[in-house]
Amino acid sequence: MTPLDPPADKKLTRKDFVSDQEVRWCPGCGDYAILAAIQRALPDMGVTREKTVFISGIGCSSRFPYYMNTYGFHTIHGRAPALATGLKLANPELDVWIITGDGDGLSIGGNHLMHILRRNVDVQLMLFNNRIYGLTKGQYSPTSLLGQRSPSTPMGSLDSPINPTLFALGAGARFVARGIDTSTKTLGVVLSEARKHKGASFVEILQNCPVFNDGTWEGVTAKQVASDTQMWVEHGKPLLFGKDKNKGLRVLAGGRGVEVVTVGEGGVPESEVTVHDETNRPLAFLLAQLQVPQMPMAFGVLYRDPAPVSYGDAVAAQNAQAIEKNGEGDINALLRSGHTWTVK
């Protein structure tokens, strides 16, 4: 259940969500921008501090809860989704945010990430993807590119990287979005949409690690290329990008792929550009796979198709059904169920 509290006496501000703890990420870390984005966005979501919980695993990003003046639990490596599932079942009123990274969420915690998504537990997951292990000083991660040199791969990584957004779709997530650390405004919007979604919402956030993997997303995020490399999608609108929105994406016949088309003069009319449909799962798969430099990368809400009920609601309904059928459990009756006999 997503709590919608009545507005408090005074509207909360960013400051209300800043804890008294000194932030200890490296200077220039993308995490600062993400922290600021959520602290700015939360007041507009109408949340209360006491019903908000941030849960993390282990890694640089997982320090996040200490900096939020809400409830928080900094747990163990990869397991935040499992703890969050228990917390949400125990107290469905809470608004639970999971903070994870590419290592925490997709390596050691890949299993839990898959299961919280397929179960559709009503939480928001923010996966900070910097394509490196920061806290352990620079080893390659499951999203590192093939050939990534790191202390553990001096001759280059041999592992094919995983695409987090594609993973989430494959696991059955019903809200999948992508944002960028420093694009704080759009990130705030994406996070706000994620919170509105009833069920598990997955947001991949491209994040820069200035110490161990500086500029890993430069080809996507740099100002001079951004308009050609970032395609921000919006439900019901054509898939356009480029400086003058003069490029578009067209799904090939039969959905076997996509192509970039020039729109307008010398190209095709805008009507031939594919219109984004958040509820179209095959389209979401196509969008999630787009990689620079061949294609623009897709951002915003790629997929949103809420299930009738979230996992927590379904569990609560079953519990209620059991009470309706059997009445409140009576321990003495339970202990005396089945064969008993009396000794006088």
């Binding site: 804890s19 703890q21 209360t48 501090r49 006491e50 019903k51 919980v53 849960i55 282990i58 809860p65 200490y66 939020m68 003046n69 809400t70 409830y71 928080g72 639990f73 900094h74 747990t75 163990i76 397991r79 989704p81 499992a82 703890l83 969050a84 599932t85 228990g86 917390l87 949400k88 079942l89 125990a90 107290n91 009123e93 809470l94 299993n111 839990h112 898959m114 299961h115 569990v315 079953q318 519990n319 059991a322 009470i323 059928k325 059997n326 009445g327 409140e328 459990g329 321990i331 003495n332 339970l334 202990l335 005396r336 089945g338 064969h339 008993t340 006999w341 009396t342 000794v343 006088k344």
Partner: protein, 620 residues
């Protein structure tokens, strides 16, 4: 079977106690026959103990020795503490069952054989070169040879079940014969069959026909010499309502009861593992008791969901066996450093690694007490019987919530599956221990402690003004913020340890289970070995030896008077189903000359084995 003491009015030989072992192929329904015989025996008023012993394979290849499934029941007109060392009656449904079990039957014991299964193929699979029915293999025993397969098939013929399904009712035929032999009422089994097969009345009636046919066979057929009918008089038990209970059922019911007494909803996160799964099955049926069950994706997620629930103000609990405990270690450590309540049932099995999943062992004691990284103390309890599992489950909830700590309840495969009559307690008479969540915002921080117990406050998310962050990093004693201060870590480690030691003040002193509190030898046991050790000490005392039995149920912290108590004995012997774990704990903690008596066979102790150990230890 004891020597008959007399004859009953209806001409039955009266016996004080009997041990029966049902043995057959995994698919022969021996566990079902054993369970039904157990119910009928309980209703007949005998005290009893059972020992189901089955292979790990769900359907092992038919006819093989490793596919043999056994169920032993010991019932008597006196107190029964163990399932019995040796069967007085062996039911062997096929050659493999005979091969595996014959060595355990004492000379003169009764062996009931289904000759219908003694064909060439089955004999070969069991490893018999010659038919044991034809040579002198069975000479030392009383033998009842019946073609149960054929008689069963004939009995259920009117139901047109098909030959395979017809043959499947032969366990009921055999049960009928034993009901005749031991004067058992058939009606509860008939009732049970009609309920179980409510949707297949044909199958129910066929099984009932087989049960009756076996009984009638006993009434009418001429029995060989030495085979008669018997009666075991009712046992004298304290007055009250009784039922049979297995350890895993009792743990599950205790957890539901504990949640009630604490005033908390329960979140039980678990992952299937032998022999713990039936705890999850039992709790999944108790949703209307404020219990939410969650079958997680793995052992780690199971315990983590419980920790998350406890953070949220529910009682988080989980169950597992040895391999799962190993996986849960890190998350248990998280609950220790964040000081959250957590109840963990560890139903031990033979290890290491996968080991022998369906066989019992007591080899997780070290893992329970010490099996985590860092100095990570918690509380460990070990019930001795299936019935005690109920009370220790409640105790675990009380201690976990009072001291804000994980509590492990160590059971094992023997307690988990074995049944014993249990005097059902009155829930309304059990003391409540309602949890009070912290509410006061004044000077709040999450590691504020109760000066008496040293437990930290439990502030529930959702409470305005108490927003706080906890986690696996070391926290400062005075603020609850992250701290790397060297002195603070030393202090916090000591505080966590002291908090657990304080639990010893909250629990009763160790008592002596049998014998005086001083003497030549203290036999110190724990967990499921209670019955055999108690019997062995009793017999040793009857021989005039100055032996006492001390059964420890509070494994950590150890009972506060245990050291002083042990110091009053010349020698200490510690029988355990492992390679020496409690014995090492006692030596390490108390510097006492405790010596091990180990059995590591995946089987419980026989009374004779412990008695031999006592004699040997005293005579050296």
């Amino acid at each position: 079977m004891d020597t008959p003491v007399s004859e009953s009015a209806d001409g039955r030989e009266i016996l004080e106690s009997v041990v029966i072992r049902f043995a057959g192929d995994s698919g022969d329904g021996m566990q079902l026959a054993g369970t039904q015989f157990t119910q009928a025996t309980a209703v007949a008023g005998n005290d009893l103990a059972t020992f189901p012993d089955f292979p790990a394979e769900i359907r092992a290849p038919a006819g093989t020795t490793f596919g043999v499934s056994g169920f032993q029941i010991h019932f008597a007109s006196h107190d029964v503490l163990t399932p019995g060392d040796a069967p007085d009656v062996l039911v062997a449904m096929n050659p493999a069952a005979l091969k595996v079990n014959i060595a355990d039957v004492p000379r003169g014991g009764l062996i009931i054989i289904n000759t219908g299964a003694f064909n060439k193929a089955n004999l070969k699979k069991a490893g018999y070169d010659r038919d044991p029915l034809e040579d002198d293999t069975l000479a030392p025993y009383r033998v009842l040879k019946i073609d149960i397969s054929k008689l069963t098939t004939a009995a259920v013929k009117p139901f047109n079940l098909g030959s395979k399904a017809a043959l499947r009712t032969k366990n009921l035929w055999t049960l009928g014969l034993l009901y005749w032999m031991f004067d058992r009422d058939r009606s509860p089994t008939v009732e049970w069959l009609r309920t179980k097969f409510a949707k297949k009345p044909d199958v129910a009636e066929a099984n009932i026909a087989a049960l009756n046919a076996g009984h009638i066979y006993g009434e009418t057929a001429e029995m060989p010499q030495g085979v008669g009918t018997y009666k075991v008089p009712k046992a004298v038990l304290p007055p009250g309502t009784y039922r049979n209970v297995t350890g895993n059922e009792a743990l599950a019911w205790g957890l539901a009861a504990g949640g009630r007494l604490a005033g908390l909803p329960v979140l039980f996160g678990s992952y299937p593992i032998t022999p713990a799964s039936s705890v999850l099955h039992a709790l999944a049926k108790l949703k209307h008791f404020g219990v939410t069950t969650f079958q997680a994706e793995d052992e780690i997620a199971a315990v983590c969901s419980a920790v998350g629930a406890s953070f949220g103000g529910s009682l988080g609990a989980t169950s597992t066996s040895g391999p799962g405990m190993a996986l849960k270690g890190e998350a248990i450590g998280l609950a220790i450093i964040t000081e959250l309540p957590l109840v963990i049932f560890d139903i031990q099995r033979a290890g290491p690694s996968t080991g022998m999943p369906t066989k019992t062992e007591q080899s997780d004691l070290f893992q329970a007490i010490w099996g985590r990284n860092g100095d990570a103390p918690l509380c460990v309890l070990a019930p001795a019987t299936p019935g005690e599992c109920f009370h220790y489950s409640i105790q675990a909830v009380r201690l976990a919530t009072t001291y804000m700590t994980p509590v492990i309840v160590l059971s094992d495969g023997f307690i988990a599956n074995g049944a014993a009559p249990w005097k059902v307690p009155d829930f309304d008479e059990l003391p409540r221990f309602e949890v009070k969540f912290h509410q006061d915002t004044e000077g709040f921080h999450p590691y504020k402690r109760d000066p008496q117990t040293l437990a930290r406050v439990w502030a529930k998310p959702g409470t305005p003004g108490l927003e706080h962050r906890i986690g696996g990093l070391e926290k400062h004693y005075d603020s609850g913020n992250i701290s790397y201060d060297p002195d603070n870590h030393h202090k916090m480690t000591k505080v966590r340890a002291q908090k657990i030691q304080n639990i010893a003040q909250d629990l009763p002193e160790q008592t002596v289970d049998l014998g005086p509190d001083t003497g030549d030898l203290a036999v110190v046991s724990w967990g499921s070995t209670y019955g055999s050790v108690n019997q062995a000490v009793s017999r040793a005392r009857a021989e005039g030896r100055k032996v006492s039995h001390i059964h420890v149920r509070q494994m950590w912290p150890l009972p506060r008077n245990l050291k002083a108590l042990l110091s009053r004995f010349e020698k200490i012997l510690v029988p355990e189903l492992n390679n020496g774990q409690l014995v090492r704990v006692l030596r390490a903690e108390y510097l006492v000359p405790a010596e091990p008596l180990d059995k590591i066979a995946g089987q419980p102790f026989k009374v004779a084995e412990v008695l031999d150990g006592i004699r040997a230890h005293l005579d050296t």
